[in-house]
Amino acid sequence: MSSRRDDRGSIEPHGQSWRTRDALLIAVLAVVFGFLYLQWLPVWLAARGLGAQIGQEAVFGFWLAAGVLASYIVRLPGAALAGESLAALAEVLFGAAAGAPLLITGLVQGIGAELVFGIRRWRDYSLVTVVLAGAIAAVVAIPWNWFRLGYFALDPTFLLVLFIVRVLSGALLAGVFPKLLGDALAATGVLSGYRIGRARSEAI
C-alpha cells in the first residue's frame, strides 16, 4: 500500500478508505450533534403546541443534519451513515427517552443521505447535491419515523401536507444548514487535512 505523508504528519487518504482521524472526526461531530439533538427535543415538543404535527415536521430536519455534515467534511463512503448512527448512539448514552430504538432511527435517517452522495461517488458536494441529500434523507426516514410516532393513523390529506413540510425541512435544516456550517468551519482552516479542505485549496 503506497501512501504519502502530508505536511501535518498524518497519512493521506488512500483511495476511499478511512484513516483514524476520519473516524474520529465523524465520531466527535456525531457526539456534538447527539448532544444538540437532545436539546432539540423541547423545540420539537414546543412546535407541536404551535402547529400540531405540521410544526413538528417543520423542525424535524435538524435531526438529519449530523450524517450530511459528516459526509460533507470527510467525503468518504459510509460517513453519512456512520455520522447519523453514532449521533443516535450518543443520544442513547446521554439517556434519551426514546432509548434503544434510536439506534435503528439513526441508521434509517442516515441511509437517504448516503444514497445521494453514493450516486455521485462521494465526489460531488455542490449545494444541489447536499440539499438533495437532506431532502432524500427526510423522505427515506418517513416509514420508520411515522410508524413510531403513530402518524399512519392520521388523515391521508393531512399526511400529504406533512410530507411536503418534511421534505422542505430536510432540504433546509439537513441540507443548507450543514453546508453553511461545514463551509464556515473549513474557512477557519482546521479542516485542511480532510477532503473538504483539499477541495477548497484546489479551488483556490
Binding site: A27, V28, L103, P156
Partner: protein, 271 residues
C-alpha cells in the same frame, strides 16, 4: 431536558451484558409499537417499575420523577390526535368547529401513544442507569461486532464532550470580555450561537487531530486481529433476560387480548 446518567450501583441488571440489555429494550419497544389501546401500555409501565425495583435496585420514586416531563407531552398528544386522527365510521364526536372535529376514538389513540412514550422512557432510564458507557462500547465491539475504529472513536468523542462544554463557556466569556454583545431577538440568538459554534467546533477538530495522531502512533486498529483489555461476556442469564423480555411482552399482549382490551394497529385506523 434532564439527562439521566449511569449510577454505579451493583444490581442484577447492572451485571447483564450491555448488548443484551440493548436488544431486550429494543424487543420490548418494538412489541409496544404494535399496541394502539390506552390500557395495555400501562402494563408495560408497571412492568418497568417492577423490574427496576426488583432487578435494578432503582427506587420507584426516582423512576417516577424521571417520567414527569412525559405527562406534559401526553396532554398535547391527546388533543392533537383527537382532532387529526383519520376518523373511523361512526366515531363519537365530542366537539366540532369548522374543519375541526374532535372524537373520543382519536383522543384514546393519543392517550395510547402518550403512554407508549412513557413506557419506552421508563425502560430507557433503566438501561442508562444500569449501564457503564465504556462497557457498552466494549460490548458493542466484542458482541455486536461494531468496527473497533468507529466504536472507540465514538467513546473518545463521548469523553471529549465535557471538555467541549467548558470550551463553549470559555469562548462565550472571552467574547463578552472583548465587548461582544449579541443583538436582540431570535436573529440575535442565531448570530450568537453561530459565533460560538464555529470556534468550539474548530477547537474540537484540533483536539481530534491530536487524538488521532496519538492513537495512530500507538498502532491503534492497525491490525484486524486484536485483543481486549477487558473482555465482556455473554452468559446464560443474558440470553434468559432477552427471551424473558420477549415472552413477557407477548404475554401482556395475550392477556390483554383475552380480556378484549387489546387493540392493534388495524386497517380501520391506517391510511
Amino acid at each position: 431536558m434532564t439527562v439521566f446518567t449511569y449510577s454505579d450501583v451493583d444490581s442484577w441488571l447492572r451485571r447483564r451484558n450491555p448488548t443484551a440489555k440493548l436488544l431486550a429494550h429494543l424487543t420490548i419497544t418494538l412489541v409496544l409499537t404494535l399496541v394502539f389501546d390506552p390500557v395495555t401500555p400501562l402494563a408495560f409501565v408497571a412492568g418497568a417499575f417492577v423490574i427496576g425495583a426488583v432487578l435494578g435496585r432503582t427506587p420507584p420514586t426516582r423512576l417516577a420523577a424521571s417520567l414527569l416531563p412525559f405527562w406534559l407531552l401526553s396532554v398535547s398528544l391527546v388533543v392533537t390526535n383527537a382532532l387529526f386522527v383519520n376518523q373511523p365510521e361512526g366515531a363519537t364526536v365530542i366537539w366540532a368547529w369548522g374543519p375541526f372535529t374532535a372524537t373520543v376514538e382519536g383522543a384514546l389513540i393519543g392517550l395510547s401513544l402518550a403512554e407508549r412514550v412513557a413506557a419506552i422512557a421508563a425502560f430507557s432510564v433503566l438501561f442508562v442507569m444500569s449501564t457503564d458507557p465504556t462497557d457498552l462500547v466494549r460490548s458493542l465491539v466484542q458482541q455486536a461486532r461494531v468496527p473497533p475504529r468507529l466504536a472507540y472513536a465514538a467513546l473518545a468523542g463521548y469523553r471529549l464532550l465535557p471538555a467541549l462544554e467548558r470550551e463553549f463557556e470559555t469562548v462565550r466569556l472571552a467574547q463578552r470580555l472583548r465587548g461582544y454583545r449579541a443583538p436582540a431577538g431570535p436573529l440575535g440568538w442565531w448570530v450568537e450561537q453561530r459565533r460560538l459554534l464555529i470556534p468550539v467546533l474548530a477547537g474540537a477538530v484540533r483536539r481530534t487531530d491530536r487524538l488521532a495522531l496519538a492513537m495512530d502512533s500507538r498502532g491503534f486498529a492497525a491490525s484486524r486481529r486484536r485483543t481486549h483489555y477487558r473482555s465482556m461476556s455473554w452468559r446464560w442469564p443474558d440470553t434468559a433476560m432477552l427471551l424473558g423480555a420477549l415472552i413477557a411482552a407477548l404475554t401482556i399482549l395475550a392477556v390483554s387480548a383475552a380480556f378484549g382490551i387489546l387493540q392493534l394497529w388495524t386497517g380501520a385506523l391506517s391510511v
